[in-house]
């Protein structure tokens, strides 16, 4: 048994963290220098944003619906049933919609970027790009990271709206809340300090998902097995990062007294 205070797992972890930091550094170093790959960026925004709308929409709708249904009994106990839209909208917009969106994206976008770049790496397509005079980091990584950073917040705002609609239906399953009353209450409750910080943090979610997916794919090991592993660990690490960023964001928002 090795009881060293610096076990191998820690070494692996720190090496990986260092490599990811260097990868991120490279993004900032060359990401904003011309020439820009606008066409590829738009294409990626389409893939990442538009193609995830359905999945994000369904999930957000269901979350809004069930959170409302689940919250009702507790509020009924206090005789505060009328507070249902208030309570539900705050938890949906502040926390549930952005985090669920980010997790869906970590699964869908993280794995697809990881697998795509991974297979391009092991079939030498990335080398081929470099040989043909295109900087593959710029063409593949920078565009995907930017697209994820830009699109995840859009998806999160979309998820906010859809989940609130789900909440409306949920509130109407047992009780009766008119359309006008529901939205009146929601918008009376929600202030900018609920919405802005929660949208702001989704930029970080998107960035983390993009960077991790690209890092894992770009550094894929030889062979088809390596591609699967890249996709898999891209999802695992970026999901974990979403929660860590969320935790930090909550603290920071609290400190800045946004609440």
């Amino acid at each position: 048994m090795n009881y060293s205070i610096f076990p191998d797992q820690w070494k692996t972890f720190l090496n990986e963290a260092g490599a990811i930091s260097r990868f991120t550094g490279r993004f900032f170093k060359i990401g904003f220098k011309p020439p820009y790959e606008f066409r590829e960026l738009l294409k990626q925004c389409f893939y990442i944003g538009y193609k995830s709308l359905g999945l994000v929409g369904i999930t957000a709708f269901i979350m809004g619906l069930v959170i409302t249904i689940q919250s009702r009994p507790t509020l009924v106990e206090f005789g505060a049933e009328a507070w249902l839209p208030k309570m539900v909208s705050v938890s949906l917009v502040r926390e549930i919609a952005p985090v669920i969106t980010a997790l869906i994206c970590a699964g869908k976008i993280g794995s697809s970027i990881g697998a795509e770049l991974g297979s391009m790496k092991v079939t030498e397509q990335i080398d081929a790009m470099e040989v043909s005079g295109t900087n593959p980091f710029k063409y593949l990584v920078v565009t995907r990271v930017m697209a994820a950073t830009l699109m995840v917040p859009v998806l999160a705002v979309f998820a906010d709206a859809v989940s609130l609609y789900g909440g409306f239906l949920g509130a109407n399953i047992r009780g009766v809340v008119s359309w006008d009353l529901y939205w009146n209450q929601v918008f009376q409750t929600l202030v900018y300090s609920d919405i802005l910080p929660s949208v702001f943090k989704t930029y970080f979610f998107g960035f983390a998902i993009g960077i991790i997916g690209c890092y894992k794919g770009y550094n894929s090991q030889k062979g088809t097995e390596g591609v699967g592993q890249s996709a898999n660990s891209a999802v695992v690490i970026s999901s974990l990062l979403v929660f860590i960023i969320d935790l930090i964001a909550v603290q920071v928002i609290d400190l800045l007294n946004f609440t």
């Binding site: 795509e116 081929a128 790009m129 040989v131 043909s132 005079g133």
Partner: protein, 258 residues
């Protein structure tokens, strides 16, 4: 593009042996794995030089060092008057514009059509080229490899031999002076392999290219080689024409050529 002057120089130097790539004392290791140890070789203008070696002997590492995809630990590679390991990205790009590289796995971009694959290198180097010209170049390159009809297909729809041809077309579209082939016939059936070999010979004649060809396919070596270099234990073990090496008495050489 091959200019008038180049043609003349080519004819003159067929006997003079002017080197276009000079590799001196090349070393490359991965950890304890010393892949290349003081490797030396020259590629002369207009010739096809075949590098033969066992699988895992470092042949791919060698040509990746030449094109600048890997950095050797020490040694020099002189090409177009520059030492490749010293160059930065921009300088490498100008070298690569004149140098074709055919990957062992073809490395066709599988999210793009054949046309987009071919255009990809073009739009980098000749950004100003107008659409009509680009289209002309794409069709010319495809016609050269006999696959003009595949222009709108995806790589996944093509057979192994067709993919190899498209990869070659993608290389030829920039009219390179030097072409590096990494195992061009490996994984193909013998007949398709011969077709690719003949195509490579045609390319050499038509565009007056100089090539390094990595191969252990005897048919391919017989058809394409002007000279053969044997890579064993990271060194240039033997060198000569195909016929000369075939007649050699050396045991290690015989292993490859029997």
């Amino acid at each position: 593009m091959v200019s008038e002057a180049d043609h003349k120089a080519n004819d003159e130097t067929e006997t003079k042996n002017i080197p276009v790539i000079e590799i001196r004392n090349l070393n490359k290791s991965f950890g304890d794995n010393h892949v290349l140890r003081n490797f030396n070789a020259d590629l002369y203008k207009g010739e096809n030089l075949v590098v033969v070696g066992k699988s895992g002997s470092g042949k791919s590492v060698l040509i990746k060092c030449i094109i600048g995809l890997m950095k050797p630990d020490s040694g020099t590679i002189h090409m177009y008057g520059k030492n490749i390991p010293d160059l930065d990205e921009t300088e490498l790009d100008t070298i690569r514009e004149k140098t074709g590289f055919l990957f062992q796995s073809n490395a066709l971009y599988d999210s793009m059509t054949v046309r987009e694959n071919l255009e990809f290198s073009l739009r980098r180097h000749q950004l100003k080229a107008e659409t009509e010209k680009v289209n002309e170049l794409v069709m010319e390159a495809l016609t050269n490899v006999g696959l003009a009809e595949t222009v709108d297909m995806m790589p996944a729809e093509l057979s192994g031999g067709m993919k190899k041809r498209i990869a070659l077309a993608r290389t030829l579209i920039l009219k390179p002076h030097i072409i590096l082939y990494d195992e061009p016939t490996t994984g193909l059936d013998p007949i398709t392999g011969k077709e690719i070999s003949s195509l490579m010979l045609e390319v050499q004649k038509k565009y007056k290219t100089s090539s390094i060809i990595i191969s252990h396919d005897m048919n391919c070596i017989k058809i394409t080689s002007n000279r053969v270099v044997l890579l064993i234990d990271g060194r240039c073990y033997a060198e000569g024409t195909y016929e000369k090496l075939k007649k050699s008495n050396d045991v290690k050489v015989n292993l490859f050529f029997e």
